[in-house]
Amino acid sequence: MIAEAGHYAMVLALALALIQSTVPILGARLRDPALMNVARSTALTQLLFCGLSFLALVTLHVTSDFSVANVFENSHSTKPLLYKITGVWGNHEGSMLLWVSILALFGGLVAAFGNNLPLSLRAHVLAVQGWIASAFYIFILLTSNPFLRLVPPPMEGRDLNPVLQDIGLAVHPPMLYLGYVGFSIAFSFAVAALIEGRIDAAWARWVRPWTLVAWIFLTLGLAMGSYWAYYELGWGGWWFWDPVENASLMPWLSGTALLHSAVVMEKRNALKVWTVLLAILTFSLSLLGTFLVRSGVLTSVHTFASDPARGVFILAILVFFIGGGLALYAWRAPSLKQGGLFAPISREGALVFNNLFLTAACATVFIGTLYPLALEMLTGEKISVGAPFFNLTFGPLFIPLLLLAPLGPMMAWKRGDLLGVAQRVIGAAGLAVIAIAATFALTSGGPVLAPFGIGLAVFSMAGALTDLTERLALFKGSFATTLARARGLPRSVWGTGVAHFGLGVSLLGIVCASTWGTERIVSLKPGASVSLSSYDLTFDGMVERQGGNYRELIARFTVRQGGDVVGTMEPAKRSFQTRQMSTTEAALLTRGFSQLYLSLGDPEPDGAIAVRVYHKPLVLLIWLGALVMFIGGALSLSDRRLRIGAPKPAARPADKPSMQPAE
């Protein structure tokens, strides 16, 4: 019953999406408010039915109804409740259902909170959302229906891939999808603007909060995915330049660029055509990510199934929306009113610099990810593009960005004073030089580039703080003035400072963990020790334990530093009976921001076991930095300006020059 109800709800959602994608456009043509308002009601009811469909699948998984193929293939009655729920999106069909549910959620949010949007713009935006939703509903219903029944119903399920039985699955995919799919709103706004042929600063102000929402969740999703890979896969790395990781990094890079160019558009009414293009490209990259991961082109933990029909279908969706979006852009963008030009040395100029380098960095990731696929398709030659490629391309392009990040927010709009700004960051630069010198002194004979990386990180952090302290008149005025200023300072300024600070924090973690991390692989007998960095790890012995749906072999280690016990670590090997698979569970011991990382190899016949031990200095900063960026984005999102929404654009005759909002 529930499966059929869920299936039926999805068909209804499709029908509503089809109405949503046509009637409002007709309404906008005929200037009929009633027809345009259909967008709002259909978006909300579509969210309701899509939500019901998703809830139906969750219920089926929770109640272990193995007569449904999707539950049979991905669940097991002994699986813990949390994984029964997260297992809903731990497979292809369910994760596509999550994808459209989040799409419907965003559509519903625009419908619910977009009351101050001009009626025709809202109608167009929701109609474009309706197109995307329709395409994906059809995709799910035709190729990936999660509600198919099995006859006769099996007694027991086949269990979820053990690698996915982790709390990470509860957080990473929903966050990532909130990011991916959130950019669809920016896309819909861009397409709506192109259809209407009208775009102004108010448009940017409406787009910005949606882009910010998508961006903060994508940031969190990326960081979470990276941390999950780090502790779950057992090889101690946190980023592998794997195509699937790149697929989510690309929308992040262009989304970050979009965030910055929308600021220029909002404040100075410039860069309009570019911002629209970025909005289209960002969502295109999100779709590309969905295609790469879902089509089975790549083999990875993320690819749940490789049915060629699905790949072709998603490719068709991809071609339609990216091709359609870009064609519309090529056709209509020239008719958009060009914004003003501005001096290269200015806040706008700095933001353009940011955009240039971010998109260039994004392009190198794009090439590194797709070139092997293209080459294989054209010549059959198989190559792999890994970290060395990205270190040589992405790295150099990111350095100028990090150097300029502290300067940009200090620059004035319209005409900036580079010398003045340089004087203001002299303190931060001084700190950076001290950090470089200190690092060189402490690690004589080490890698040459690393101290400069530390310097760059210190510069980013100190520069972001300098800007905030100056604006607060900290150390200059009285405490009361500072407090008053802190209250008066726009949240978006706080957000910028905090997010840029987070960038430095992440960089510091990356440089430290990858340069001074140490690693040992040894074979240990019970009672033997291995020392690494300043720690001694003693192997106490092995214990067996029965988990819910697995058996595990645990190795006990006592960790000592200078003779004192500082903790115990219990890495394990789990074997899952149902799938006859084993996973390696690494053990982590956190000391400040650094971590000891221990993972097991194979037990040998003589009772010894191979272990891999890593010491990762300051590794936690990598993800803490991302968390700080998330907080910065959230602060910016809470800015009063964005909350109260954009002012109504002035009704003006078309021949007047476009309005320049005062700054």
């Binding site: 293939e73 497979n91 896969l233 290269p344 030659e381 198989k382 890994g386 392009l397 996973t583 390696t584």
Partner: protein, 169 residues
């Protein structure tokens, strides 16, 4: 600055960044990509010792020898040719004799492939995609032949594991 100069500065700057990015990409593509070969392809191409590549094939039954200090050696075969592989470190969870493997490294002068990375990157058929494609092309392997029989719909639930050579101090 005039309007025209400003426009030129912007366009010039954009082109400069693009040129830098293109230069970096071309430089990196020429130096840092790694090709994939089966043992037969490696023999045909006469890959020089020291040149890095990815070797893929089946781990030959009974060829795995464990030495001291986590040293292992095994043979990788594609049915037509065989290459001995030496590796030091922990093999991935899914490494098994008779199943597919991908290793990255270079040949030494004696013709032994010294791997610094062993990837067992494959689905439930225990067959890496690259290896499956290469063997299919050589007509050595058909879908569903190796490992477990192919399950109906959910053929590929891939699992990636990787072993990396550590520094033995």
């Amino acid at each position: 600055m005039t309007r025209r100069q400003r426009r030129l500065t912007m366009i010039g700057g954009a082109l400069a960044v693009l040129a830098i990015a293109a230069g970096l990409v071309l430089n990196a593509l020429s130096s840092s990509i790694v090709f994939f070969s089966t043992p037969q392809m490696a023999a045909e191409k006469h890959i020089a010792p020291g040149k890095r590549f990815r070797l893929g094939g089946m781990v030959e039954q009974g060829s795995l020898v464990r030495g001291d200090n986590l040293a292992v050696s095994f043979k990788v075969s594609d049915g037509n040719a065989t290459l001995p592989v030496a590796y030091k470190g922990i093999l991935p969870d899914l490494f098994r004799e008779g199943q597919g493997v991908v290793a990255e490294g270079a040949l030494d002068p004696a013709g032994v492939f010294v791997a610094d990375t062993v990837l067992a990157k494959h689905d439930e058929n225990y067959m890496p995609k690259e290896v499956a494609d290469a063997l299919k092309k050589q007509g050595r392997w058909q879908e569903g032949e190796a490992g477990k029989p192919v399950a109906s719909q959910d053929a590929a639930k891939p699992v990636v594991t990787q072993a990396k050579q550590g520094v033995l101090q």
